[in-house]
Symmetry: C2
Subunit: 295 residues, 2 copies
DNA sequence: GGATCTTACGTCATCCGTAAGAATA
DNA sequence: TATTCTTACGGATGACGTAAGATCC
């Protein structure tokens, strides 16, 4: 018959306290309960752990030998439970996020800093990949969460909407089109739009929503939203980007104008469907949805 | 709230088996019991350990992280209980015996070999010290058991009798005194006895039991019984030694004669009174008493 | 229908506390 | 007498099993 963890716990307390009475005090149980547990343990082992001598206890050599092993048990259980608690409080764990450059540069640092204020010990890994590659990487387990535009629908992946974003225009104030408070789609078609990237969602979106806008007519072409915005602030044209990709700090001589009718962009979060989400991931999604749906 | 060892045990079984049903089978408990334990564990932790997905379980990242720590708990408990069992079977442990040369050379090898047949894995340390020093060494914890003649009565030490031995005479057959079957005390007083040692129990015993025998009259003097016996077999005199100190193998031209009236020698075992005996020590004492009282 | 997990309910073991007893200093 | 361990008894928690229900393939 084997000893239980409770036997071990009580045995250790007796060894440390040196008496049943004191051990009981430290364990917050009655002294007869300690007697019983010890007797039970000794009966299971088949030999005494303590010599009863004049109302006092003297550990046998066997008890001394078992004590070290018992402490190992105690420590391993403590480590397990400490880890369990730390993970509950998100003091231990890793939040792996993969996002395209634009979101990794503007949206996520803000979201992450907010999230990390609540869980200051949580490790966070933010991995930048091209939007089109993220689904594959997530499917291969390289990160737990992917934040994407136009989420793909691979069967391996689950997708949750983070609400609809929209395209806004970043433009210098001196530009003639900057005089109004909004920009119409028609105005944009012949405006000096900075063309973003080749075969990403942006080009598809433009083809659908602004079919009159042709790549050939755009003087400046880049493949990063951040660069497009930077070019716009230098007066090199109008950047048409997701509103979450607008730089946090803009020069005062720049404006951000909404487009009418609005051009919607789906923002979504993807993860492996058959892989349970970690606690940090769940909470981060929750936090993301809350802030993004509320504004 | 912390997880119990039982929670850990069941959690590990689920992780290994991959399903509650199979885990229950391996644990020899019902499947609902496994469900309950898992639910309880998850409730205590505050987060799920498995994702229920189409009737199957998928471990969460938290479960995977806890699994390693859980295995540590399992292993440490296994080690503890294995050690406990091994000590019960005397497969682990050390029997430390201290004895004077004569007993260490003749009596104890026989006793130990007999004892070790029952407990072939038990480690045994046989330490030789002069009889007069053994009590001190035992009191200082240098060995657990001391086998001595004329046991001392230090308050720190407990003493148990191993029965009475007696002095016998080792003598060559051609010696005139060897013609009878016994030797009387009177015969010995003027015989060529080999004087053993200076201030040990032997000299005290002789002074009491054979007061006529004087050291000055003895031609040959040694301080080891074994040497005395060897000298006797070479015809250098009569060795008067404890019967347990007679060599196991004797030349055929030698005889061992009892002394009449018998000269008793107390043989005893000593150990620290306030230090509980180890299981091997207890059993060795028991075995010693049994064989020594039975012959 | 066969597999799995979950819920419900009753039983039993065991762990614990209170109270009294025994031994020791 | 004060302290400690042991024994005895009774209660409550909890772990388990059986049976039935829900869900998925």
């Amino acid at each position: 018959m084997a000893l239980s963890a409770r036997h071990v716990e009580i045995f250790i307390a007796i060894m440390r306290a040196g008496s049943l009475t004191e051990a009981a005090r430290q364990l917050h149980i009655s002294q007869p309960a300690v007697t019983k547990s010890l007797q039970h343990a000794e009966q299971r082992l088949g030999y005494p752990l303590f010599q009863r001598l004049g109302g006092r206890l003297q550990p046998t050599p066997e008890a001394k030998a078992l004590f070290k092993a018992a402490q190992d048990v105690e420590h391993s259980l403590q480590r397990l439970n400490q880890l369990g608690l730390r993970m509950a409080a998100l003091e231990h764990g890793m939040l792996e996020i993969m996002a395209p450059p634009a979101l990794a540069q503007e949206l996520l640092p803000i979201q992450i800093s907010q999230f990390q204020q609540n869980y200051p010990q949580l490790q966070i890994q933010l991995n930048v990949q091209q939007n089109a590659d993220i689904a594959n990487h997530i499917a291969q387990g390289e990160a737990e969460l992917g934040i994407v535009h136009f989420p793909t629908d691979a069967p391996e992946l689950a997708m949750e909407s983070l609400g609809n974003s929209s395209i806004v225009a970043l433009i210098r104030q001196e530009h003639p089109l900057a005089s109004s408070d909004v920009l119409t789609r028609d105005q944009l078609i012949n405006a000096p739009v900075i063309w973003c990237s080749g075969n990403t969602w942006w080009a598809q979106l433009m083809a659908r929503e602004l079919p009159g806008l042709k790549r050939e007519k755009c003087q400046n072409q880049v493949n990063y939203f951040a660069v497009a915005c930077r070019m716009a602030t230098q007066g090199l044209g109008i950047a048409l980007v997701d509103r979450y990709s607008i730089p946090y700090l803009l020069p005062s001589d720049c404006k951000v104008l909404p487009v009418v009718p609005e051009i919607h962009v789906s923002l979504g979060i993807i993860y492996r469907r058959y892989q349970a989400l970690s606690q940090p991931a769940k909470l981060f999604i929750k936090a993301l949805r809350k802030t993004m749906f509320s504004d």
